[in-house]
């Protein structure tokens, strides 16, 4: 049996060798029969090849994607850092631009007014709810003294009540301990502006004959030494007029937004340099007093 198999194998090997030689010797044979014999094999292999090629492409894509993902992740991290840095820088620049604008207004206001002033930044507020004060970063070293008036381009802020070499405390016009001599722009009636418990102000001691209307502008009268005449304090709100009272009073809506106050000007002297520079018209203080 084994011998038969060996013989049979020998026969097959011999046959295959002869076929191989015949194919080599006769090129015509390479074209047709081999083609027909090889066709199903090629079809099968090419199918496998295509499948593998697709898988390979997919695998390559997954691999490339993974590699890309790592680099994208890294890049994303860098970009996020850049974005955060740029956002912070943008914010800082916006803040600087706003501060620049505020300081420019303050400088314009200072130039437009004849009295000498010291600019100061607000660095704190009163720790208690009983008083309405501000702490500013200028003190006696900068020429600030007690009772000096404090203003900003919008109007009257308050007056200095405590000083230190480097700091000062300003009592706001809305504090109930504050009193500023004032007049109504339209009627020229004089009164006293005091703060209220609600953080607003009211004007008192106005004549019963005064014809007051809501929205009338309230200005400093210049009778107290802290403020020059004609600085805006606010506008009239509700007017209270009782029959038996000797005077009438009215609420005053301050022209300064105290919650957003960042820079102020301390009036160190209202007697200095009385000659008004050109372009003084930008001051709201100029109008009413010149008309009088």
């Amino acid at each position: 049996m084994l011998r038969q198999i060996i013989n049979y194998k020998r026969f097959i090997i011999l046959l295959l060798t002869v076929l191989f030689v015949a194919v080599l010797l006769f090129p015509e044979l390479q074209k047709r029969p081999v083609y027909f014999l090889g066709r199903p094999v090629v079809f099968l292999v090419s199918g496998l090849q295509k499948g593998l090629a697709r898988t390979s492409d997919g695998f390559a894509n997954v691999w490339r994607g993974y590699i890309n993902l790592i680099s994208v992740q890294r890049e994303n991290g860098v970009l996020k850092q850049d974005l955060a840095r740029l956002q912070s820088e943008n914010l800082r620049l916006q803040e600087a631009a706003q501060a620049d604008e505020r300081l420019r207004l303050l400088l314009d206001f200072k130039k437009a007014n004849a009295y000498s002033m010291v600019p100061a930044s607000v660095i704190g507020r009163d720790p208690s709810n009983w008083y309405r004060t501000l702490t500013i970063d200028k003190g006696t070293r900068d020429g600030v003294a007690i009772d000096m008036g404090v203003i900003n381009p919008a109007g009257v802020v308050g007056r200095v009540i405590k000083t230190d070499p480097t700091l000062s405390q300003v009592l706001l016009v809305t504090d109930r301990n504050s009193a500023v001599a004032a007049l109504i722009q339209r009627t020229r009636d004089e009164g006293l502006v005091q703060g209220t418990e609600r953080g607003l102000a009211r004007i008192k001691y106005l004549s019963l004959l005064a014809d007051l209307k809501e929205g009338d502008l309230v200005l400093t009268s210049g009778l107290t030494g802290n403020f020059p005449k004609g600085l805006p304090i606010g506008t009239l709100g509700r007017v209270t007029k009782k029959d038996l009272d000797l005077f009438q009073q009215a609420e005053v809506v301050p022209s300064v937004d105290f919650s957003k106050l960042e820079e102020v000007l301390v009036i160190t002297s209202i007697m200095e340099d009385r000659s008004p520079p050109a372009g003084r018209s930008s001051s709201p203080a100029a109008g009413p007093q010149n008309k009088k």
């Binding site: 208690s128 709810n129 008083y131 405390q169």
Partner: protein, 173 residues
């Protein structure tokens, strides 16, 4: 608590009170962080520490406040002393108790302030002062006090070992 922690808290609280707290003010009334520090110190560390922290905080506040020097010292030291004494009568501190005691002490300190101002300055209508300053401040302090209790005291599990051996009768005894 370590004395350095007290020192840092005392020095840090005032700048926060005078700057950042403006942003959370309601109708120009802001919570009194100093009063809360003094309350928690008195309640959890005893009346003497409460008194001392109250005195220090009050002195600092007086320096930066528009009022006469000494008013905040008197008010805050009294709050520290009272919160310590109250702490002896309440063994189990809860959020509601904290809020209630802070409300009470805030109202007391506010009334003290009001009567002082009335005595010195006069002409302050009580209804107006109560409506616009005293009550909103007390309510705000009470809310923030409750928040501090739940966020800080509960989290850190702050206890009161000084109550052991106390000569005062406590609720548990």
């Amino acid at each position: 608590m370590n004395r350095w922690i007290y020192a840092v808290l005392v020095l840090l609280l005032l700048p926060i009170q005078t700057t950042w707290l403006q942003a959370v003010g309601l109708h120009a009334v802001k919570p009194d962080l100093a009063l809360l520090l003094i309350y928690f110190t008195g309640f959890y560390a005893g009346e003497m520490k409460g008194f001392m922290i109250g005195w220090l905080m009050g002195a600092l506040m007086d320096l930066f406040s528009g009022g006469p020097f000494g008013l905040q010292i008197a008010t805050k030291a009294t709050v520290g002393l009272l919160s310590g004494l109250l702490g002896r009568f309440f063994l189990n501190a809860t959020g509601a108790l904290t809020m209630g005691l802070v409300l009470l002490l805030s109202l007391l300190s506010g009334l003290f302030g009001y009567f002082f101002h009335e005595l010195v300055l006069g002409e302050i209508p009580f209804a107006e002062a109560f409506r616009w300053t005293l009550l909103p401040e007390a309510l705000y302090n009470s809310l923030v006090g409750g928040l501090v209790f739940w966020v800080v005291v509960r989290r850190l599990n702050i206890r009161r070992p000084w109550l052991e051996g106390s000569p005062f009768p406590s609720k548990a005894e």
